[in-house]
């Protein structure tokens, strides 16, 4: 029984890490239909910049916002690249984001370094015991932060004019322009918000996972799985997908064998795409005749 609880805690912690990364995918997708494969790199930039700023004796209250700003700046640069190739198909833009991720990874290899780094736990590193199973305060912080972000996103997309303008932009750029939406501004905002979310994720998960210049690769992939499983575009879907993935991985490692753990993410992804092509919470595709 204790084991079951411990597997769940482990799975939930990892799941929310995936979810945090997955959330970034939904934001850019919601405004541009682009899947931004450099999302993982923004996670890495957030963590690495926070680490290096704290090495440079910046207090956390300053280092963290600066790290998030650096990531948003990189998000803005990505937008610039995307807008330069405006007439390209979505597919070529997705490839562009892949290229950008390689660029960011290479640049941080030179700009930062190739070593592993970590940050001390923000609150305390004494684990909290619940019925014999333990969870770290940092993991709880990751969960709280992701939930805050997901509710903020939900509120933005569904209750504010801005969010609706974003959705409208994604749906039909020209129509959005005609009703007076500044498409360019909306897109800039989206790219910056999604990279900021990723960077926040990168900062809060660094004390748990440690970070280095290539941590974004696998986190980006798992976050992508999370977003797809949940139905890309829906922030709640990303969280659900992430947690489902995390728990499945943890249970497989615990009850079956750790050898099969990594296969789970991709098997689940295939099954979901096969049976629910839009993801578990994805919008039903309706076509007009």
């Amino acid at each position: 029984m204790v084991e079951l609880l411990q597997y769940s805690f482990g799975g939930i912690t990892v799941g929310f890490i995936y979810a945090l990364v997955g959330l970034g995918f939904t934001v850019i997708y919601n405004s541009s239909k682009i899947i931004n494969f450099s999302q993982g790199e923004f996670v890495m930039i957030g963590g690495m910049a926070a680490v290096f700023l704290s090495y440079a004796k910046f207090p956390f209250v300053l280092a963290f916002p600066l790290a998030v700003m650096l990531a948003s700046l990189l998000g803005y640069m990505l937008f610039k690249l995307v807008s330069m190739s405006q007439n390209s198909s979505v597919t070529s833009l997705i490839i562009l984001t892949l290229g950008y991720s390689i660029f960011v990874r290479g640049a941080s290899q030179v700009g930062f370094d190739k070593q592993m780094h970590t940050l001390p736990a923000f609150i305390s590193d004494t684990p909290i015991s619940i019925f014999g199973a333990t969870i770290t305060p940092q993991a709880i912080l990751v969960i709280v932060v992701s939930l805050c972000i997901v509710f903020a996103l939900y509120y933005m997309f569904n209750k504010t004019k801005l969010g609706k303008a974003m959705l409208a932009t994604a749906d039909n750029k020209d129509a959005a322009k005609l009703v007076g939406i500044s498409v360019k501004k909306i897109l800039i905002m989206n790219f910056m918000i999604s990279s900021a979310i990723a960077a926040i994720g990168g900062i809060v998960l660094t004390p748990i996972t440690s970070t280095n210049y290539e941590i974004g690769v696998i986190l980006g992939l798992k976050g992508f799985c999370a977003a797809i499983i949940g139905g890309i575009g829906n922030p709640f879907g990303a969280v659900f997908g992430g947690v489902l993935l995390g728990i499945l991985e943890s249970f497989v490692a615990g009850y079956l064998s750790s050898e099969y753990k990594d296969a789970v993410a991709f098997i689940v992804l295939l099954l979901i795409l096969f049976f629910f092509p839009g993801g578990l919470f994805g919008a039903k595709k309706s076509s007009r005749v």
Binding site: V14, M116, S210
Partner: protein
């Protein structure tokens, strides 16, 4: 500037690192994973090679000639390593090759070495590189098998013979896991659990929970390097596990203590002597050269030393000493002289090569059991 040196500078701009070129240099090739997934190996290795070749040349070189390092970055990719080894052999015409950084790339270049009859001193861990001994192939790091033996010897002494393995499934972890399982019976050690994790995993609590739920585990051994062992150590602490946790030489650097913080208190580490030079007895001949190396490296690069730079240091010195010994830069003469090395005191131990032993390290001088106390190393009793 000769024309050649201009061309070489051009190559430098393309990302190859080269030292100054002059006529009549002794060319030594190096294949290091300076970037990519094994860059934490290749980066300090290359820095060490560059630093010491500069020093050797400043002190008059070898037999009155300067050494020229021709280093290529393999990115730990065996395909790239084979391309570069061909270039080193046929184009650059080097007299000896140092590298690769990782076992996979080293194994990939062995056929070319055999054909070209040029001595190779690898900086990679796997025992397969030198067992069975191949005429032109040597290596400097103690093998994972030796680390397993040392760890089990220690655990046997402590009567903790029921061991759970939790290994990274990258190259290093895989190889060491296999070696540990092979040597365990010889020490009366029983492997009661055998878990693995991916090198990029972020949570090992499921595997550790499984081990925790078993009642007969005395010690947990974690073959692996990079972030994995750091996360295992943190998770181990989080779960409040009371068994002895033993880490391999893959984590033996200050970085590991930094990454794990309080969680590494009391963790046992099997380590090459270089990182704990200050703790060695004054009578140990390794102590002084290790302290000098640490001082040189840390002053020049302003970064803490790892064990990995030490592999390059010993590889370079084995070759340089052999050239001096043979008074020749003929590859075959160098090879013969390396094989007849009997008492080179290096950073990884004292090398005593022979026809069948192309590593030449003994377990006692090359691996130390350490315990982490107050965020620093101590020799484990």
């Amino acid at each position: 500037m000769t024309k050649t040196s201009k061309v070489l500078l051009g190559l430098l701009a393309m990302g190859f690192s080269l030292t100054a070129y002059a006529k009549e240099n002794i060319k030594i090739g190096a294949l290091v994973a300076a970037t990519g997934p094994a860059s934490f190996l290749g980066d300090p290795e290359l820095k060490t090679l560059e630093m010491y070749i500069e020093k050797i040349n400043a002190a008059g070189g070898v037999m009155g000639k300067n050494i020229e390092l021709i280093a290529y970055d393999t990115g730990a990719n065996p395909k790239k390593a084979t391309t570069f080894v061909k270039r080193l052999i046929s184009q650059d015409k080097v007299v000896a090759i140092l590298g690769g950084s990782a076992s996979g790339e080293t194994m990939a270049i062995l056929p070319f070495i055999k054909k070209a009859k040029i001595p190779l001193v690898s900086m990679a861990g796997s025992i397969k590189i030198v067992k069975p001994a191949k005429k032109f192939v040597f290596k400097t790091p103690a093998t994972d098998r030796m680390a397993c033996e040392k760890i089990f010897e220690y655990l046997k002494k402590k009567s903790k013979t029921n061991v759970a393995l939790i290994s990274g499934n990258g190259g290093f972890g895989k190889s060491m896991r296999a070696q540990c399982k092979e040597v365990a019976p010889a020490f009366g050690v029983k492997i009661v659990a055998d878990e693995t994790y991916g090198p990029k995993d972020t949570d090992m609590t499921p595997q550790l929970t499984k081990i925790k739920s078993m009642t007969n585990v005395d010690a947990v051994v974690n073959p692996g390097f990079g972030q994995g062992p750091a996360i295992v150590t943190k998770n181990f602490k989080q779960l409040g596990m009371k068994q002895t946790l033993v880490q391999s030489h893959g984590v033996a650097s200050k970085k590991f203590i930094e990454l794990t913080g309080n969680a590494s208190e009391g963790v046992i580490v099997a380590s090459p002597p270089v990182v704990v030079a200050a703790l060695l007895k004054d009578s140990n001949p390794i102590k002084q050269i290790a302290l000098d190396y640490i001082n040189d490296y840390e002053t020049k690069y302003n970064a803490p030393v790892s064990t990995f730079g030490g592999y390059a240091y010993d590889a370079l010195n084995l070759v340089v000493n052999a050239m001096k010994e043979a008074n020749s830069t003929d590859p075959k003469a160098i090879r013969d002289a390396i094989e007849s090395t009997t008492s080179y005191v290096g950073l990884n131990g004292i090398y005593k090569m022979s026809k069948n032993d192309h590593l030449g390290l003994d377990i006692d001088s090359s691996i130390k059991m350490l315990v982490i106390k107050n965020k620093d190393w101590q020799l484990a009793k």
